[in-house]
Amino acid sequence: MNADDKFQELWRSKKSVPAISSQDLIKKVGQVKNKLRSKIVFTTLVLIGVLLYIDIFVFQQHPPKLVTSYIGAVLLNIAIIVQTAAYAGFLKLLFENASTDAPIHDYLQHMMQVRDRRRFMQKTILNIYYVCLIIGIGLIFIEALQNVSNPGIRIALPVGAACYMGIMWFTARKNEIKKSEKDLGAVIEKLQAIVEDTKHA
């Protein structure tokens, strides 16, 4: 037996039994989809609930006197809606479109496009989210602080809020972008190396 035949025979001797049947695999895919859908529906409902609570209950029970509070509430609504829309559907769609059956160099191009689109979306959406959230809370604070009589609290509260928002803007926002790019970036780097390797005989 020559070496080629021997390698082929040895290679083909490796057998494996699938962990689950094809029917169970189809069921599993359906279950995962349903689970994901339930999670998205639940998160969306919770966020809508929070919005309704702020808009109907709080503002109906304690109607604000200043226009700034209304503007702040609108900005908070925008922040929550943008966040929900982005995470519930938009980014998920970007991933589902990845052309998993393309040749390697096309797959790399596609992954890079996904990364660029995702980077743009995430930066834009996260910026809108954080800007709306920070300005919204700040505007609502103006009226809230007028009702506080203790001068210490009147200073500590906005300073504390400003620090919290500063941390969110400079750390949380950046970390979130970095984290979401990390794995995709590593895969792209690896694919680039492989595409480079395929150019040489």
Partner: protein, 174 residues
Amino acid sequence: MTIKNGILTKSTNSSSSLQASFDQIYTDYWDKVFRLCMGYVNDDDWAKDIAQDTFITVWQQLPKFRQEAAVGTWIFRIACNNCLRQLERSSKFVHKEVDKADESSSRVNEDEINFLYKCIATLSETDRLIISMELENVKQTEIASIMGMSESNVRVRVHRIKEKLTEKFKEYER
């Protein structure tokens, strides 16, 4: 949908015919996809996971399959891309040292099989995929199209890889 000689023919897109086609693909290609993944990661459990992920994608994409390629080539493309996406466990298994098998062992053939897979695991990522498909009897034109290389490039690589493997087997048998 029906499969004849590795070609998927669309008849109806009903869910029962899709399921029947998928059942057939799953039965026909499980071992082939598993071996391709084994060649890449050299770990049974991990290879099974990647193979399973590959069939999940196959199931999801089956209604959109355009028949521009034979079903086997299409599945190998998905499997290759799935292998290339693997990151977390990569450093743990690939490029590990090739052990010399215990000569007194009665499981000579099994040792040889494991030795072959270990040798393949020491190759570069591109070479691992190329030789896995070559040993799976995928045509070199199809390997070239999957890998985005010229056919002559694939031929040269296959030749070199086989030389390396032969060399290692000679050392192993000594």
